[in-house]
C-alpha cells in the first residue's frame, strides 16, 4: 500500500509502514549533520528508527549550506 506524504514541500508516494530512518534510506539521503522536522516539530535522531511515517505527514529534512 502506498501513502502520500510531503517532504521538503514536495509530494512523495511511499510505501506504508516506513520509519523515518527507512524513509531517509528510500530517498538516498545521507544521515550525518541533518535534522528532521515531522509535522512542524523536531524529530529527535534517536526516534528516527521507531517513528512510523503515516499518510499526510509533512517532513522537512535540512542540512547546512553557506550563508552569512
Amino acid at each position: 500500500m502506498t501513502i502520500e506524504i510531503t517532504v521538503n514541500g514536495e509530494q512523495q508516494s511511499i510505501q506504508a509502514g516506513l520509519t523515518a530512518d527507512a524513509l531517509l534510506d528510500h530517498l538516498s539521503l545521507k544521515k550525518k549533520l541533518i535534522a528532521i522536522e515531522l509535522n512542524a516539530e523536531v524529530l529527535r535522531r534517536d526516534l528516527w528508527p521507531t517513528t512510523e511515517i503515516i499518510a499526510g505527514d509533512r517532513l522537512e529534512v535540512v542540512h547546512f549550506v553557506g550563508g552569512g
Binding site: 514541500g9 535534522a35 522536522e37 535540512v62 542540512h63 547546512f64 553557506g66 550563508g67 552569512g68
Partner: protein, 256 residues
Amino acid sequence: MSDSFVLAGHEFSSRLIIGTGKYRSYDEMKSAHAASGAEMVTVAVNRVPLDGTSESFLDHLNPKMKILPNTAGCYYADHAIRTARLAREALETEWIKLEVIGDQTTLLPDNEQTLEAARVLVKEGFTVLPYFTDDLIMARKLLDAGCPAVMPLAAPIGSGMGVQNPSNLRIMREQLPDATIIVDAGVGVPSDAAIAMELGADALLMNTSIAEAGDAPAMATAMKLAVEAGRLAYLSGRMPKRLYASASSPIQGAIR
C-alpha cells in the same frame, strides 16, 4: 594587551565573525577563513535536495571554527523558531544567529517578529544573537529578553555600503555601555570595518565583503587588520574634532 572578546561565556581572540556564503570555491573560502583569523562562522539551514545533488558543506570548514547557524530565509517568528530548533538538533549547539526578514528586496529585519522569536528561543535555552536594525529601543528589548548580544546592521545585507548611521551606533554604545554589540551586515571595505569598531562595536560579522572581493583571502587579511586597528583606536581614545586648526608645529620661532 589582552583584549579578548567574551560572548556568552565563550572567549574569542578575534573580533571578526565571518560567513560562508557566496564564495566562488571551497578553496577560496577556506583560504579566506584562515586569513581572517575568525574563530566563528555562520552557516545557513536549508532543505536537503531530494535529487541527490547535495554535498557535505560542513566538511569544507576548518573544524576549529565554531559554527553559528542562522535562520536566514525566515520571514516569520514561527519559521525562525522551527529553523533554530532544527539547527540545534543537527549541530548540537545552542547558539543561533536569529534573522527574521521583513522584505525580500532590502532584506531588512522584521524587528517585531525578531523580538517574538528571540523571546521564545531564549526561554528554550538558546544563545540568541539577533540581527536587527540599529535601533536603541529594539536593542534594549532584545537584551531584556535575554539575548547575550545584539547585532545591529551597518547597512542592508550584501550592500557593501558601510555604516549608514554612525550616530545610531554611537548612541547605542553610549546608552548600553555593558552590552555586547556586534555590527552585522553591510560592511563593504576595511575602512567600514574600522569605523564600526571605532564607534565601539565589540565585534563584526561580515560575509559578502570578503566573498565578493576580487581576492577574498587578501580582503580577509585586510578586514582582520581593520578590525584590530579600529578596536585599538577605540580603546586608545580619539583626538577631539575641531572646527578650526590646532597647530602641530611651533607657531613662534620660524625664520623670517
